[in-house]
């Protein structure tokens, strides 16, 4: 039985890697996507254009504005003198934000009355707006602190000392890049496995395979192992790039990481072979893979937190192997989470994998027409 499976695997590798197109599919898109995702998929804001509407000529106002000017996050791109100028600037997306200091700003501040700084912001993209507001708030916060210190005022009764665990500079890339390890491993494994049976069916070789003494289990293993090896290779390359190119820390143990990768691949291959054995043509296989991949990625917490989804959809995500792998990856990369903490994330992937593989093996023989 061993020799037969090896023959099956060799054949599988040969037919995959001898074809230029499939070689390209395995290598090029992952690297392109890693670069595009790594650099483009960021929530960090930089150089947000804003306008200043300063009706107050006082020195304190200048001090406050200097805080904005000195920030990497903002870029002063207009200076306006009339109220009416605000609307066209924001409407036309020339600036995201207008910082408005009223005529009594300095006077209020010096007299000890609460002075107010008006921030008008374009809320079309509420996430960007929220982040820009946070940046503005912290600039004003540090100004306040300075001001109280310099003028010997009694400060606020409490101050926040904020710290972020696991990602002290709150870099989006640290969040996105480990996720990409999962994303691309999933995509490539799906493409390798979801089309493999369908391709053989289309070319008629699957019939040829079924009339040989191969048992469904053997075919299943022969089909699964190449996907497993390619997936592991893919995950390794991307992990290396994440660590050495994108400089994302890898705090946890490599062994735990590979345990996670292995179980995730098991589940991905299970789903892939399941789709493949349902599909009669490669086109159906592709469509099936697409219909699985899109929700699997969206509902994995890869870009947006699962906790933000409605409860029903959160329940659905429990069926998504990618969801568990995201937690495992980020846990190992950034938190250095040990194996025992991740067990709750690992066993569901194993279950998903085994159930799908069993179904796929059954379908090999029973879906023939």
């Amino acid at each position: 039985m061993g020799a037969r499976i090896v023959a099956l695997m060799i054949k599988e590798f040969l037919s995959l890697l001898k074809d230029k197109k499939s070689r390209v599919v395995v290598v090029v898109p992952p690297i392109l996507q890693l670069i595009v995702f790594g650099y483009a998929a960021t929530f960090d804001l930089s150089h947000v254009p804003y306008a200043v509407y300063n009706e107050d000529g006082g020195a304190p106002a200048q001090d406050l504005l200097a805080g904005f000017r000195g920030s990497q996050n903002f870029l002063e791109s207009a200076f306006i003198t009339h109220e009416e100028q605000i609307r066209p600037l924001i409407d036309n997306k020339k600036v995201l934000m207008v910082v408005h200091l009223g005529p009594t700003f300095s006077r209020d501040l010096l007299s000890g009355a609460p002075a107010s700084l008006q921030v008008i912001i374009d809320g079309r993209n509420s996430n960007t707006a929220m982040l820009a507001l946070n940046y503005a708030n912290s600039i004003v916060g540090s100004f306040n602190e300075e001001w109280t210190k310099e003028h010997g005022l009694s400060g606020p009764p409490a101050r926040l000392v904020a710290r972020a665990w696991f990602n002290p500079n709150l870099e989006s890339r640290w969040f996105i890049v480990p996720g990409i390890v999962g994303l691309l491993t999933l995509v490539v494994t799906m493409l390798v496995t979801a089309l493999s049976v369908a391709r053989e069916r289309e070319q008629g070789t699957f019939d040829q395979l079924l009339v040989t003494p191969f048992r469904p289990v053997e075919i299943l293993i022969g089909k699964a192992l190449p996907g497993f090896i390619i997936g592991t290779f893919e995950a390794t390359v991307i992990t290396l790039m994440a660590v050495f190119w994108f400089k994302v820390p890898l705090l946890g143990s490599v062994i735990t990481l590979y345990a996670g990768i292995a179980l995730f691949l098991l589940s991905a291959i299970g789903v892939g072979l399941m789709i493949s054995s349902l599909a009669v043509t490669q086109q159906q296989g592709l469509l099936g893979a697409f219909l699985f991949l899109v929700p699997a990625i969206i509902l994995s917490g890869f870009t947006t937190p699962i906790a933000n989804m409605p409860q029903v959809i959160q329940d659905i995500t429990l069926l998504n192997p990618m969801r568990y792998f995201m937690v495992v990856l980020r846990g190992i990369f950034l938190e250095g989470a040990p194996f025992h903490i991740l067990i709750s994330q690992l066993w569901p992937m194993a279950v998903i994998g085994v159930v799908n593989l069993a179904l796929a093996g059954w379908l090999f023989r029973h879906r023939m027409y």
Binding site: Y39, V119, G123, G141, N167, N308
Partner: protein
């Protein structure tokens, strides 16, 4: 007469073979529901640990702000250790730590330090949470200043958010999604149907009749344009009724810009299938070149302005980028011509380029 024959044939095929109807109508609904609910940046009821080492009236005042906020669902702790465990296990996303001497130190010059720890793994979410914490903290400061009859902070930020005052992320995500989905659907519709003719050998039979290539292409474009507009209308209806996104611009502008965009998307599909001639390859290419680029590089979720310059430059060839901008503006801001016109012009240019290439590439030839 030839055009009429081609269009009628295409319509009959659409009716007999429900797959294109499914692509045009079912896919946007499913995708919109999936994405509309699945993609949300609004963190609410964030689980947060409130560690109060020595509870008294002062700390109660502080924590009540958190308990009343819709952004938080706090869990109480007496010790840091329990809270830290909860954070490591992912049960809470942040910790607010009030030390034993909190009440006493509120009277110090520097004020009592409040330790805030957020889980920084999801940086965006972490930033939003710290923003919420800061908001809650300033609310508390104000309440306390009023109660104690003293001045509050020297400068207060008075924020006004235009177009989306509740800061609902769905309001900008859903219009953007429509652009992403229609890119995929437009391209898939034409890519598959033209490739199907090649595959079934009917293209050969069409070509040898006196029809011109222009008529064959137009005959494909017209029915699927209407089908695509149907899908578009369905998506807009869902955005407004299902997701409650305000539509502030006029329907006419929405209609006009959508038609323009659909031309680009259909053109892309036609081009793909003209080059691929095989349904499988055409489908593969359509998915690869439309979906992911539109998703990541259109600015629908990730801010284009913050991307590195080479990638920012590259986004200019993504048609969805222009449509996302138009849609977000027409839905949330209204008919802002200085935004709409340049983007519409870019779409027009792209359509012209696509059809120009198609015209050159599709001769009445089989080789």
């Amino acid at each position: 007469m030839r055009m009429r024959g081609l269009v009628r044939k295409e319509l009959l095929q659409v009716i007999r073979d429900p797959s294109s109807i499914a692509i045009a109508f079912l896919m946007p609904v499913v995708l919109l529901i999936l994405f509309g609910y699945g993609v949300s940046l609004d963190a609410e009821h964030v689980p947060i640990a409130l560690v109060v080492e020595h509870p008294d009236a002062e700390t109660a005042g502080f924590t009540s702000v958190f308990r009343q906020s819709r952004y938080f669902s706090p869990v109480g702790f007496r010790e840091m250790k329990g809270a830290e465990d909860a954070m490591r296990k992912g049960l809470v996303d942040g910790i607010i730590h009030l030390r034993e001497d909190f009440s006493r130190r509120t009277r110090d010059a520097g004020g009592a330090p409040v330790q805030v720890i957020v889980n920084g793994i999801d940086a965006n979410n972490a930033r939003l949470i710290s923003g919420y914490v800061e908001g809650a903290w300033s609310t508390w400061l104000q309440q306390k200043a009023i109660a104690d009859g003293v001045a509050g902070v020297p400068v207060q930020v008075e924020q006004r958010v235009w177009f989306n005052s509740e800061m609902r992320s769905r309001n900008f995500l859903v219009p953007g999604l429509i652009a992403v989905i229609m890119t995929l659907i437009g391209a898939l519709l034409t890519a598959l149907v033209v490739a199907r003719e090649w595959e079934r050998g009917t293209m050969e039979a069409l070509m040898v009749t006196p029809v011109t290539m222009k008529e064959i292409l137009l005959g494909k474009l017209v029915p699927y344009f209407f089908l695509g507009m149907g899908g578009m209308a369905l998506s807009v209806t869902m955005a407004v009724w299902q997701f409650g996104v305000p539509l502030r611009g006029s329907l006419a502008v929405l209609f006009a810009s959508s038609s323009l965009f659909l031309l680009v998307a259909l053109g892309m599909g036609l081009l793909i299938s003209t080059l691929a001639k095989n349904q499988f390859v055409a489908g593969q290419v359509a998915i690869i070149v439309t979906f992911l680029p539109a998703f990541i590089l259109s600015g629908f979720i990730f801010d284009i302005g913050s991307m590195p310059a080479p990638i920012r430059l590259f986004t200019h060839v993504i048609a969805a980028r222009y449509f996302v901008e138009i849609l977000q503006t027409v839905f949330l801001a209204g008919n802002v011509w200085p935004v709409i016109l340049p983007n519409a012009l870019a779409l027009l240019l792209m359509a012209a380029v696509f059809f120009g290439i198609i015209r050159r590439k599709s001769r009445k030839r089989l080789d």
